[in-house]
Amino acid sequence: MKTDLTDTTASKINKALVKARRAIGTPAVGMVLTLVIVTDEENAYDALKAAGDASREHPSRTLVVIRRVSRSPRDRTQSRLDAEVRVGADAGTGETVVLRLYGEVVDHAQSVVLPLLLPDAPVVVWWPVNAPLDPANDPLGALAQRRVTDTYACEQPVKELAARADAYTPGDTDLSWTRITPWRSMLAAALDQVACQVQGVEVEGEEFNPSCELLAMWLADRLDVPVRRTRSAGPGLTAVRMDTDCGPIVLDRADGSLATLAIQGQPKRAVALKRRDTAELIAEELRRLDPDDTYASALRYGVERLKQGDGGDAPAKGEGRGGEREAVPAPVESAAKGPAAEATEEAPVKKAAAK
């Protein structure tokens, strides 16, 4: 059921919600949280779709706050709130209110959102794009227990990470961190299987992907060893190589779905490590609403303390690669590809030097 309200207020929206619930015969609702999505018109559809899928796991009231751009000075002085109330089959398992803000009210979105929050239930704010630099002190962010940003969607992810570290407040989290949970869990499982001391780590992944930095910082923070961040063509994260005192441990995912885990002295094994879609990430994010101390600790380690692979620190790099070759007893692809890739990488440099 869908109700359109134009030039409306929060109390009229509340009335419309109650009326809609009555009309479809479910006045009692088991919703566990309010999810506020702050976005622009362009990203609203995808975000709402992901939230709808996630609501199957976490029935929630979803408030989508869309700030409309005013194109004339007159528009900017007039303020208006339009709302679309969706209940029942149109709204996944919970309720959805799409709020469109025009003019001055754009700067006072919290006054619209506050009366629409579910009583007592936790509030999560999610910025799919354009998150504020200090989420906890944002007027909407201040309403929430949990503030979800996504550095992956930023122009300069690495810089953004540093800013997030500076502004971190318990309850902050980032989807780039959520994305690497399967990697972290597999790496932890790999270390469960051996009693070795890790001496150095290399995290390889595409450029402008803050998940690689976060994973590298987490490893550096937990293992207390130097960690090198190197670049590849992706997709996403492609490999983690750990050098240990009993040989290398390599988790390598070339195609974005099936990875291989190679541990020295153990057979090579395939592990499913699929890149997950936004709905799954949001569902994971909503599962726990307490501050994520591990994230805080990894984030605060500092991007600048990671070694950069393309900085030309040749011996260490060679070590990492060599380790990989040793670790993979059946060198069908990786070893064959490894040197080739190296060669092509180096070729342009040599050419440039020759010129």
Binding site: G30, H58, R184, S185, A189, D192, D224, R269, A272
Partner: protein
Amino acid sequence: MSSSNPLRDPADRRLPRIAGPSGLVIFGVTGDLSRKKLMPAVYDLANRGLLPPGFSLVGFARREWANEDFAQEVHDAVKEHARTPFREEVWQQLIQGMRFVQGTFDDDESFERLRGTIEELDKAQGTGGNFAFYLSVPPRSFPVVIQQLKKHGLADQTGGSWRRAVIEKPFGHDLKSAEELNAIVHEVFAPDQVFRIDHYLGKETVQNILALRFANTMFEPIWNRSFVDHVQITMAEDIGIGGRAGYYDGIGAARDVIQNHLLQLLALTAMEEPASFDADALAAEKTKVLGAVRLPKDLGRDTVRAQYAAGWQGGAKVIGYLEEEGIDPSSKTDTYAAIKVGIDNRRWAGVPFYLRTGKRLGRRVTEIAVVFQRAPHSPFDTTATEELGQNAIVIRVQPDEGVTVRFGSKVPGTSMEIRDVSMDFAYGESFTESSPEAYERLILDVLLGDSNLFPRTEEVELSWKILDPIEEYWDAHGRPARYQAGTWGPVEADEMLERDGRSWRRP
């Protein structure tokens, strides 16, 4: 090793508990349980990323299959029954560790092959010698399989590796046979290596009984004889015995369901708060309350057994128990059983617990209803509260998992009229749409060695001590009553509660 793993941190709660390197051997892998529950559960676990890399699944059965046929069978079972969507990369991970061993239980050679397979997997998949043996076999085959495992050294734990045995109900058919069975199993496997599956205990709702009672403050103060009038625990099935005549006849509903599922539910509902949530503390409290269960003095008056007669079940015509194929027409086996027990302790003295189970009842449902006493005084006149029943908290175990609270509320209007209303908490509404299957949780717990949710030897034996006198009485006295298929049981059961001034809930 994991304790020293620097990547593990108790505060890092996103990281799931992944089982260590291990494999699962299923005996009787061609059976229904294996196809419908075990294989899909293994896949779902893998899909959720909870199985270790290199996890291996070994099937053992008589059928002439190659590894590929077995993999195909698992593939079909997973596609049809798995809870989570089928994903090729997960399947690729699983398939590398799939093996099939053809053979019969008395054939030494095939157990040697099984040992060879396990050794091969240790090399190829890095399972590290850690294997769980799931005995999805008829009870009569238990001793021979267990002995074969011992004979071929498959039960030996060497060099830090583990071997575990998983067994399914029935755990015997009376105290004596249960003790014999335990003796056979424990001769080969130590008590902490044996996991008895009662799949009810793997259900989210059942685990939630403990959360509901001990994590909240609003229920526990009234959870005693001062407020509770009685408790009804029901497990109803709408199906008949189907093709299980051979197993069912002579066993009956009480042995099949009350002895394990219902008494476990009773224990969780009635037990005192455990000192902690670990396996020992839980078992201690469960054992204590099962030990305090007292049978009624007059077993003829406070127990009822019955058989379903032909009738209509949900719009389909069905035959009676005695007409089922393979059933002796003079069989006295119960397909319905209702018993009343008391619990001799300060909390529950005088509060009856009614347990009932049956086949071919109205619908499939399992629930625990804690029914409260009426208000000691009502300021409303009797016409106002005529429609008001007793308050109740109902824990719905399956299907439609959740909790219902029933209380009185004023009917809108000018006159004062109070009627029962329900307040509902549905799992599907507040949490994930599909909570993990019981078998997923239990298989993972076996691989992790976490025995919280598995009944122990003492619990099994105590349960038989409760049921044996009733079965003996039934054997010696009369014949089962009859009830029409598709109804809520025999009149005798209604009369049994009527004598106490109570009535069965319609679940």
